[in-house]
């Protein structure tokens, strides 16, 4: 029963690096425990549960606004009809939202949530096995028809599979895959959702781990999962940079008044004192201005010796980043570099630089 290897689909690896696993290794858990877990497979853990409100225009508008989705078919009757629809429709990916329980229900679960054999029982069983933490890994949605205001949706959830124990970057855990089925007031199928979470045993704090490569890619097959890199202190002045980095865009702050580029960023232009700024995206070319090879002290998130560089970009600003793809003894001040990206963990993407020559050879 290793159906969760499908987690290698593109969605999961881009949305959550932690889902990379070492296939086929399960720890010797007690057979009785395995049996109790297996009993949940195929079982309905949440019976048909209607959403609190029918599909309605105000919630659609709020959703579209929050998502920045300006497609008029969600809010404008005439525009919707112009596309051949009978009227406005709800965004397809909103299907889950119609059946969300809301905050009050989350903090005070209803009786059906704690029914014997229900989802709560499965979570309790996983807790018993030490899998006390959870992270969502991926979600595959299939839509049958568009929802319109007045539809009233109910969801029902069935366990599809529970994986053997896997080693992941977050700790040893099991992928739990359920299928949620969404039906309308007439019982008609609206959508299905294959919903996968990792229930895991959080790793012990402070336990040393090594990354495989100097630049420090995340979990590698067979390697002990790494500790997370120190978190950047993100505030109102630098958040844009780290947000762009998560999209693998290396941005440079630019004064909107005088055009001067600056890094590290700040709220005010050192050249003209303007508070107005925007960003430009770096072309990702530069050269090595200086570097250090770190040996001691060691932090568990990194592999040593660790190369840290001051890179001078072609745009003229400098930044600190790790060097990868080059041995410490081969590093030379002045060597041309190209940008690459490191997804250190689900929350942190950072630029890394590689020698330009190795890419061209």
């Amino acid at each position: 029963m290793n159906g969760t290897s499908r987690s290698a689909d593109g969605t999961s690896s881009t949305t959550n690096g932690a889902s990379r696993t070492e296939d086929g290794t399960s720890s010797p858990a007690s057979e009785a425990y395995e049996e109790r877990l297996r009993a949940f497979v195929g079982r309905e853990v949440t019976g048909p549960t209607p959403g609190q409100d029918p599909v309605n225009q105000p919630m659609i508008r709020h959703w579209a606004e929050a998502m920045g989705d300006r497609n008029p078919v969600y809010t404008d009757e005439r525009a919707a009809r112009a596309t051949g629809r009978p009227g406005v429709v709800a965004p397809a990916s909103m299907v889950q939202a119609w059946t969300m329980r809301g905050y009050a229900a989350t903090v005070a679960p209803a009786a059906r949530d704690t029914a014997p054999g229900g989802l709560a029982a499965l979570v309790a069983l996983l807790d018993e096995g030490g899998y006390t933490s959870v992270v969502a890994t991926d979600s595959e949605l299939e839509f049958r028809r568009e929802l319109v205001p007045g539809d009233h949706i109910a969801v029902q959830e069935t366990v599809e599979s529970i994986s053997p124990e896997k080693k992941t970057a977050l700790g040893a855990g099991r992928f739990v895959t359920t299928v949620k089925t969404y039906r309308d007031q007439a019982g008609g199928l609206v959508a299905t959702q294959r919903w996968r979470t990792l229930r895991f045993r959080p790793r012990e704090a402070g336990r040393p781990r090594a990354e495989r490569s100097t630049g420090g890619s995340a979990a590698q097959p067979g390697a002990e999962p790494p500790a997370r890199r120190p978190r950047p202190a993100v505030n109102r002045d630098n958040a844009f940079w780290f947000e762009a980095a998560r999209e693998h865009r290396l941005v440079i702050q630019r004064c909107a008044s005088c055009g001067a580029l600056r890094h590290p960023p700040g709220p005010c232009c050192p050249e003209c004192s303007s508070l107005w700024w925007d960003t430009v995206e770096s072309g990702g070319r530069g050269h090595l201005y200086s570097y250090v090879v770190n040996h001691h002290p060691r932090h568990p998130a990194f592999t040593y010796p660790l190369l840290v560089a001051v890179v001078e970009l072609a745009e003229g600003t400098r930044l600190i980043a790790n060097l990868d793809g080059v041995a410490p003894e081969e590093v030379r001040v002045g060597m041309p570099l190209v940008l690459d990206w490191l997804d250190a963990d689900p929350d942190l993407s950072l630029p890394v630089f590689r020698p330009a020559a190795t890419e061209e050879s």
Partner: protein
Amino acid sequence: MRAGTLRGAAAIAGIGATEFSKDSGRSELQLACEAVLAALADAGLRPADVDGLVTFTAETNSEIHVARNTGMGEVSFFSRVGYGGGAGCGTVQQAAMAVATGAAEVVVCYRAFNERSGERYGLGQADRPMDTSADRAAYAWMTPFGLHTPAQWVALFARRYMHEYGADGDDFGRVAVVDRKHAATNPAAWFYQRPITLEDHRSSRWIAEPLRLLDCCQETDGGQALVVVSAERARDLPHPPALIHGAAQGLGRDQHMMTSYYRPSISGIPEMGLVARQLYAQSGLGPLDVDAAILYDHFTPLVLPQLEELGFCARGEAKDFIADGHLEVGGRLPANTHGGQLGEAYLHGMNGIAEGVRLVRGTSVNQPEGVGHVLVTAGTGVPTSGLVLGGER
């Protein structure tokens, strides 16, 4: 650069320290009290005479605790200086200005910590608590990349300096060797009777390449205090006054905390150049009038550009200046005669100011001939400060 009115207005009349150890076995506050009392005794003054206190923002022993515990009475001036080791000489500048303006008459500057047995700065910033301040946000450009420690920050300057001027590891190692040579004859030094050779330096392990273990200063438990009074009052006290001929701070353009890598050039120390220009303007002296120096040596590589910024040699020539033996007792500029922070103790540079006073008094364990003026520097890589001390001659 203006001369100002500070020259010769105040003097350091007393110095006092605890022993320098790796595990003091007592509180940081007790270390501070012991150092303050020792400095006052050296000055021939009592705690009740003190009406001013200056320390570092990094200091954990607040003025109220030191004043109350040592039996000081009313304190009319208290001030702190920021930026870690860059504060050292700045505390004396604050004290001298307070004395010169009448804000206080007897000002004690102090620094005490269990930096080895307690919180070790050398372990770096990786796991410090988060907040959204600009100071903490600055670490966002370092710690996620594994750039955590002072040695690593300095190494990036050192590598660039090597690239531009052809310096190598031996050029840094010679600084360590001369420091340890001086410490070897200083009974107060942690490395008393333990000199090193250049070969020892070459074979010491990498910490943050190009920095080796012996390029890095030690970590110390201890306390150091200094007593500043007017020059006039100092003349009535037991020791010959160490007159403050110049005292200055410097924060350079595009200054960061230990990581000013974004300036057009990073092979110099512009904030130290700013300090030097002020010191010479205030004192009316030039590099040739300086007979000895205490150069901040948390890490050896930044001693080289200090010599250049202070005008003792031209840019890129510090390696030759050092190799020619000019930092030795008997050389052109005897330096760190107490052993420096590599050899004596790491007291955030405050022990170096005390050695500057001893050089003026003529009481250093490695006393060179004819020391008229001593230049003392504070931390490098940070906003910094400096002093020129001298005798009555």
